[in-house]
Amino acid sequence: MSDAAPPSRTGRLTAAVTAFGQMGYNARHRFVRDVRYLGGVGYLVGDTLAWVVRALVFRRVKLGASALASQMVRVGVRSIPIVVLIQVFIGIILALQLAPTLEDYGSLEKVADIIGLAMFRELGPLLSAVVLSGFAGASIAAEIGAMVESEEIKALRAHALNPIRFLVVPRLLATVIMMVGLTVVADVVGVLGGLLTSWLVLDIHPWSYLDNTQVALFYRDFFTGLVKGGVFGVLIAAIACYEGLNVTGGAEGVGRATTSTVVKSIVALIATDCVFTAVFFIFKL
């Protein structure tokens, strides 16, 4: 009795069909899982908004201003120096990269326009969000994950305290507020980086640089950037809280949630940014 029969044509066909079916099954499985994940994060955001609305409408529902303040400090303050550093570098890089091409066209002073637009519309919010997902997102996921593991979430619920209201709402609000704030900082610092490089290396006078920036930028460039920043804040906090609340399997699970938060946040941020940019493009915003 030999198991290793020579592969017949029908055998190969069966194997191919099986492999194909398996692929289909895996794809469906993954699709279902992804949809469930998005649904979970979406539900979390919806629930959080419902609590915020409830707190605004009924004075009886307290959200805790002190919790919000301490979360804002924890989420935002440590990220400021990193964002400043990164944005200065990006400003320098952009100025140096753009200069040769623009000089060929004889319009070197346009460097200010391009840097301004890129910073305000795109890089300010996006890079701040990436930094924040590493800082705040990871630490929120780890913190909430550890709370799940030490039965703290269960204890909250058992004391009739809603974990969403108690933990997710202040973190999400704090992340959104700090994200908007960081975006402003990032915009200004990025333009400053471009300005310094243009002045010191490209010999463009700071006043003319600022003039050019001012002419090139409209308020809508600033505000679309802020809207992006706010939405990025929602994404980062919601993914972090969701990952944290769904931790299973001890310390290892907390580690997994932290990594997964950063990876998923960055993918979500860039995908959302793409959608935003497309929408703004279509509506000429």
């Binding site: 703290e152 204890a155 009739a160």
Partner: protein
């Protein structure tokens, strides 16, 4: 199952009534396993009910169902508290109703489950701050009182990470009693403690149930502790209620020689209570392991 009666008797005065409860979990292959099956018992006002059973028999699962943390697939869990004389089934209660019930009970979790970002005093103040509308100065007095009750006053401003296991449990107990609950749940209150601390926790449980006339449900497998605190006892085995009765009945089974006990169930309880390695409990388990070994080679 729908035809079955899952409502408690009308005239009975209970605090918790569990009716034909079943909880299913999926195993590795995704097949449902009945971790709890047809669990029915009542808890009466002011008594201390001890839930016992071997590891993995479903005690924690039962407790999680009772506190509304897990949702059983079948049956009912009725609460009847002083503020809510009408029995309500928490399995078809709305979240707000469930929260009203939750405000009437306190839980001591196995590891204390203190909020790690707050001091001991803040932990105890939290439920008071959130669920009562009293002045901060009064909250402070209540916190002091509750800490005094569990002899934790010297540690009031420490963080949970700075406490020992026994201290965490005592702080957790103070928090569980903060809102003067009618019902207290304990998950393995003496697990992992030395005999003296464990006895001290038992004293506290007895004390609280007398002083505050609370109804207590205690999950434990420390037999000394169980016999110290219990008014009645439930023995679970593989997700079913093997026996429920007053403490005296279990003492009789414990102290009678196995060959003079009435049936297999009693011999099993006898073995469990005495912590013997020989008896129906281990026979069954041992046999199946042995069979598996024979079959798989």
């Amino acid at each position: 199952m729908s035809g079955m009666r899952v409502v408690p008797e009308e005239s009975q005065k209970f605090v918790i009534s569990v009716r034909q409860l079943a909880k299913l979990f999926a195993d590795q292959q995704g097949r449902p396993v009945r971790v709890l099956d047809d669990i029915t018992f009542d808890v009466y006002p002011g008594e201390t009910l001890v839930v016992m059973g071997g590891s993995g028999c479903g005690k924690s699962t039962l407790l999680n169902c009772l506190i509304g943390e897990l949702r059983p697939e079948e049956g009912g869990i009725f609460y009847q508290t002083r503020v809510m004389p009408q029995p309500i089934n928490i399995l078809d209660a709305r979240e707000e109703q469930l929260n009203e019930v939750r405000k009437r009970f306190g839980i001591l979790f196995q590891s204390g489950a203190l909020f790690n970002s707050m001091t001991v005093a803040e932990n105890i103040a939290l439920p008071l701050k959130e669920h009562s509308y009293v002045d901060p100065s009064i909250i402070d007095i209540v916190v002091t009182l509750k800490l005094q009750q569990v002899h934790m006053l010297p540690h009031r401003d420490k963080m949970p990470a700075q406490l020992s296991g026994g201290q965490k449990k005592r702080a957790g107990l103070a928090r569980a009693t903060a809102l003067d609950p009618e019902i207290l749940f304990y998950d393995e209150p003496s697990a992992g403690l030395d005999p003296v601390t464990s006895a001290a926790i038992d004293e506290l449980i007895i004390d609280l149930s007398k002083k505050l006339s609370v109804t207590s449900v205690v999950v434990t497998h420390e037999m000394d502790s169980a016999f110290r605190i219990a008014d009645r006892m439930v023995m679970l085995d593989r997700g079913r209620v093997l026996r429920i009765g007053p403490r005296g009945e279990f003492e009789r089974i414990r102290d009678t020689a196995p060959e003079r006990l009435a049936d297999e169930d009693e011999r099993l309880i006898h073995q469990f209570l005495n912590g013997k390695t020989e008896g129906p409990l281990t026979d069954a388990a041992g046999m199946s392991e042995y069979e598996k070994w024979i079959v798989t080679g």
